[in-house]
């Protein structure tokens, strides 16, 4: 149970499926897909993000928590009660026969934030309020960890091979329009359930393969904007960066790719003056947000799924399209397994995002 | 066509060019032997002129339109086709000093040790860079062309 020990370093398997039309489908596919890449993980972490799984409670916040013990659960629930109206709280359904070394208490809460609590803070949006609270609970309450906090979506993760985790959480029983999955191969953490991917904040989730050499400065950069990175994972950094750049700074989702994997100065010089000006300004101002080192990530929120490689493509990333479905994965095999004959398959260029956007939010 | 350019403003007046020129044209080309040896040193074919802080090293300019060539009555003075250097065939020279009379640089001198023949810069024929240029610590003389 080593939490907060040194920086997480891991190689990994990633896979993501999105049905842009918003058609929801069972978690079976994603489990099969990630299972193909068994070799890419080592049993120290697997996880999934699913969007559109709680349609009948789609306007309520849904928190997934893991507790090491009852006391942490009580402390946390007190904090929650304090700030929210708890509409429903139950155990996250799991398949207990699945063998896993360790299993924390896993609880699920549907919440509505108390306006008066939000207004305690000077010009806080509800999101600011939530982020603030989540970070505090995660940082302050020992043994408790909020690993999912969006609306109509959920993160399911733990220590084990991803297919086992999927099985454990009975994901084939959920239906989502966007699924992402991750299998971990950490080299220095014994593996802590919270450390598994996806990492989620509000409805942001990130799964990530790689190691970010710029971690130190990314962390300091975020600090400048009030984000305290407490889990020593690159994934956490990436989530915060998206939260900062898209939610707070209102930058278009795809533009963020030009910050995290900024084009080289020389490339910018070849662009049209106006575009060049934009790109250079982004890089100058968000220099601290540049993710340096090898990575491929799949970032998702309720409307988007994006696959992104580092600026010199040091980690694998493949994408396919079939009909309305967008597939992104570390290996093509992971796609072929569940979609044998895609209309199109390609290897995204370094730093070139693969974007999937929901057409019409029905669900 | 090789040419030595003089950068007067950078000549520090150390006279290393003279020292190395003398060595280069001595019998053994060894600086210590040349200076400490018994036999007499050759003349330096490059001469540093110095007045106050102004100084420069001057050697034959190997003029395109060389007066010494025209003035030489023996044909001793000739231009090397490869390097374009003006050279003196010492076997032919009889020491009439016509060349000295017409050289506006005063870059040709009488070599009285070697009998009545003139002594002048030969651009260190067999060296790829003349020693005065090679050894100038401040590039006050630089070689142009090849």
């Amino acid at each position: 149970m080593n939490r907060f020990k040194g920086k997480d370093i891991s190689g990994c398997a990633t896979s993501g499926i999105m049905d842009k039309s918003g058609q929801r489908f069972s978690g079976r596919d994603i489990i099969d897909s990630i299972a193909v890449m068994h070799e890419r993980s080592n049993g120290l972490g697997g996880g999934f993000a699913a969007y559109g799984i709680y349609p009948d409670r789609k306007n309520d916040w849904c928190f997934h928590l893991m507790y090491d013990d009852i006391s942490s659960k009580e402390k946390t629930e007190e904090r929650l009660r304090d700030n929210f109206k708890i509409l429903k709280s139950d155990k996250i359904p799991t398949r207990e026969k699945v063998h896993l070394k360790y299993k924390p208490l896993l609880w699920r809460y549907f919440l509505q934030s108390k306006i008066e609590k939000i207004n305690l803070h000077y010009n806080f949006t509800e999101e600011d309020f939530l982020v603030n609270l989540i970070l505090n609970i995660n940082a302050q309450i020992k043994g408790a960890f909020i690993f999912s906090s969006g609306k109509n979506m959920g993160v399911f993760k733990g220590v084990g091979y991803p297919e086992d985790i999927g099985n454990f959480f009975k994901l084939e029983e959920y239906a989502a329009y966007t699924w992402t999955a991750h299998g971990r191969f950490p080299t220095n953490t014994g593996g802590w359930w919270g450390g598994a991917h996806p990492f989620g904040l509000l409805d942001w989730t990130v799964i990530h393969n790689g190691e970010i050499s710029s971690y130190g400065i990314n962390k300091k950069f975020l600090l400048n904007y009030g984000y305290k990175c407490s889990f020593y994972t690159d994934t956490e950094v990436i989530v915060y960066l998206f939260d900062l750049l898209v939610r707070k700074h209102k930058l278009p989702f795809n533009i963020v790719a030009n910050i995290l994997a900024a084009p080289f100065w020389k490339e910018m010089e070849r662009k049209q003056p106006e575009e060049r000006e934009v790109l250079e300004a982004l890089r100058i101002v968000y220099a601290g947000a540049l993710l340096n080192g090898p990575f491929s990530v799949i970032v998702a929120n309720s409307e988007n799924m994006m696959g992104l490689n580092d600026r010199i493509k040091l980690r694998p990333l493949v994408a396919s399209i079939q009909g309305n479905k967008l597939y992104i994965a570390s290996e093509e095999s992971a796609i072929r397994e569940i979609c044998p004959h895609p209309d199109k398959t390609w290897r995204p260029k370094a730093g070139e995002p693969v974007m999937g956007k929901l057409m019409e939010k029905n669900g | 066509m090789r040419k030595i350019r003089i950068q007067e403003e950078y000549c520090m007046g150390c006279r290393l060019c003279e020292i190395h020129c003398i060595t280069q044209h001595s019998k053994n080309k060894n600086i210590i032997k040349t200076y400490k040896g018994t036999y007499s040193k050759p003349l330096s074919r490059v001469v540093v002129e110095e007045k106050g802080y102004i100084s420069f090293a001057l050697q034959c300019r190997h003029c395109e339109d060389a007066p010494c060539l025209d003035a030489c009555i023996t044909g001793a003075m000739y231009r090397d086709d490869k390097t374009g250097a003006i050279l003196c065939n010492e076997d032919k020279c009889i020491g009439c000093w016509m060349c000295i009379m017409v050289c506006p640089f005063g870059a040709i001198s009488r070599n009285l040790q070697g009998g009545k023949i003139v002594s002048k810069c030969d651009l260190c024929g067999n060296e790829d860079i003349p020693v005065c240029v090679k050894n100038c610590p401040n590039e006050a003389i630089v070689l142009e062309g090849k």
Partner: protein, 505 residues
């Protein structure tokens, strides 16, 4: 009355078998150490006059000369070293303040040499700079918290322009060296090198010689307490303006260019009568507080229509972090911090050797302080004072500097051997002198070439080190102390430097 002799600092070793009495040394030594004896055709040398600049040694065609440190030793005494004693003797003779040149040479710890860099293994690949692009470009200037974009039918454009920045192709600038403290040729070499390298040089408080206006686009013009050579055209000529409050070699005191160095040209450039001492006061007499500084900064910004960044240069002193954050809030676009070992043309020895703190600690605490205050991005930090190599540069940047200033290294590249006699104006290398007989010894073309070589070599090394860390853009290392580890440092040093000890994960 005969002076009490001071033991010679150096001994001139002349190998008689090698010496050919060519008199090059005689002609070249500006301190008249060597002389020619026509009777014996021998060269005589007076060790007492030797300052140890090694010019003769380097130019002797037969390598007959070796300059050695004098063996003369006083009775062993840890407390009363030879240096201490000779200083006392000198002062007893002259009754004056001891002057010296270049940076502090005392045996204080050099933190650069106690910091180790990281490299990638297995889990992430190192990058080969010969195969992959490596970016060192750096922008100096104030950065906003966020970028505002207009999005007209998916056509993005900047909503608000960035405040003025200067662009460096390599995060190394040439630090302030005034025309006056160094020769015209030296200044010219540096300016041309700056242009060729895509970086900047700094006028110091020497003003800008009319021939140097052409280099304005790569020049940072300085305003110091003496206000020498400051006028409208001067301010407009530069790419940025730097207000000099202090200097690492002599924090808290002013500058002094002796009259004999003030030639007609220098007088004209500084707008003072030639031959008179150029004395710059300790403080700016219009800056007695931070709000005065703010006024000056904005007066300058007004004067150049907010078109160029304005910086402030301070010496690294004990509360440098707090001072720096004050300066940020006063509106500076960049802060230059000059450490204990920063050089100078002339400074009182006692000040140079005892005032200020090392740049390594200063830059670390300033960067940290500004980040905690959330104003780090509002300013660029330039670290100066004792940067000796590419590894010093990269460590400074990892500690939080945006770029570094070098000066001593540049002078060494042009010939200087740190004899520390700049203030005498007799620099044999033609650098720190105005004597026309000496200044022509520095051929600016050679100087430029050597400077460019040095910086290119450094940037190649920096790229190698970056690549090793798996980083291909310098901004990903800036302030990224995760890549540094301390060795043989106290916990406190580590805390201040904000780095872990070697061996810690």
């Amino acid at each position: 009355m005969a002076k009490r002799p001071i033991p010679t600092e150096f001994i001139i070793n002349r190998d008689e078998n090698q010496c050919i009495s060519c008199q090059v040394c005689v002609r070249m030594c500006s301190n008249d150490v060597h002389s020619y004896d026509s009777e014996t055709n021998e060269i005589l040398s007076d060790s007492l006059k030797c300052v140890g600049c090694h010019f003769c040694e380097s130019i002797c065609p037969t390598h007959a000369i070796t300059i050695k440190r004098s063996q003369s030793e006083f009775k062993m005494n840890a407390n009363w070293s030879a240096g201490v004693i000779t200083n006392i003797v000198k002062q007893a003779e002259t009754g004056g303040v001891l002057l010296t040149g270049m940076g502090c040479d005392k045996k204080y710890p050099i933190y650069w040499d106690h910091i180790l860099l990281n490299a990638s293994q297995v889990t992430n690949p190192s990058i080969d700079p010969l195969r992959e692009p490596m970016e060192l470009r750096t922008y100096i200037g104030q950065k906003p918290d966020k970028v505002h974009l207009n999005n007209k039918q998916n056509k993005l454009s900047l909503n608000s322009r960035l405040s003025p920045q200067i662009k460096l192709e390599i995060p190394i600038l040439f630090s302030a060296m005034s025309y006056g403290s160094i020769s015209f040729n030296a200044s010219k070499a540096i300016a041309n090198a700056a242009i060729q390298l895509g970086t900047f040089c700094n006028t110091g408080e020497g003003g800008l010689h009319k021939d140097f206006y052409q280099y304005g686009s790569n020049t940072i013009v300085q305003i110091a307490s003496g206000r020498f050579g400051v006028h409208k055209e001067y301010l407009e000529a530069g790419a940025a303006i730097e207000i000099k409050i202090g200097q690492g070699a002599k924090p808290g005191i002013g500058g002094h260019l002796p009259g004999e160095k003030v030639t007609a040209e220098i007088g004209r450039t500084r707008m003072i009568p030639s031959g008179t001492d150029a004395l710059s006061p300790a403080p700016h007499h219009d800056i007695y507080s931070i709000e005065d500084l703010r006024q000056l900064i904005f007066a300058l910004k007004e004067s150049i229509r907010y078109k160029k960044p304005i910086g402030v240069k301070i010496a690294a002193v004990h509360n440098v972090a707090a001072i720096a954050s004050g300066i940020v809030r006063a509106g500076a676009d960049f802060i230059s911090i000059d450490g204990l070992r920063g050089g100078t043309g002339a400074a009182p020895t006692v000040i140079r050797n005892n005032v200020g703190i090392p740049i390594e600690l200063a830059i670390a605490s300033v960067d940290q302080h500004l980040r905690v205050e959330g104003i780090r991005n509002q300013v660029s930090l330039i670290a100066a004072g004792g940067i000796r190599s590419s590894s010093d540069v990269i460590k400074a940047i990892a500690l939080g500097a945006d770029a570094v200033y070098i000066a001593t290294s540049a002078l060494v590249a042009m010939g200087c051997n740190l004899c520390q006699r700049c203030f005498t104006g007799k620099c044999n290398w033609g650098i720190a002198t105005q004597n026309p007989y000496l200044t022509k010894r520095l051929n600016p073309e050679i100087g430029q070439r050597r400077l460019v070589n040095l910086i290119n070599a450094w940037s190649m090394e920096i790229k190698e080190m970056l690549g090793g860390m798996g980083i291909n853009a310098i901004e990903s290392l800036r302030g990224n102390r995760e890549h540094l580890r301390g060795i043989a440092l106290s916990d406190n040093d580590l805390k201040i430097l904000g780095i872990k000890a070697a061996g810690e994960a």
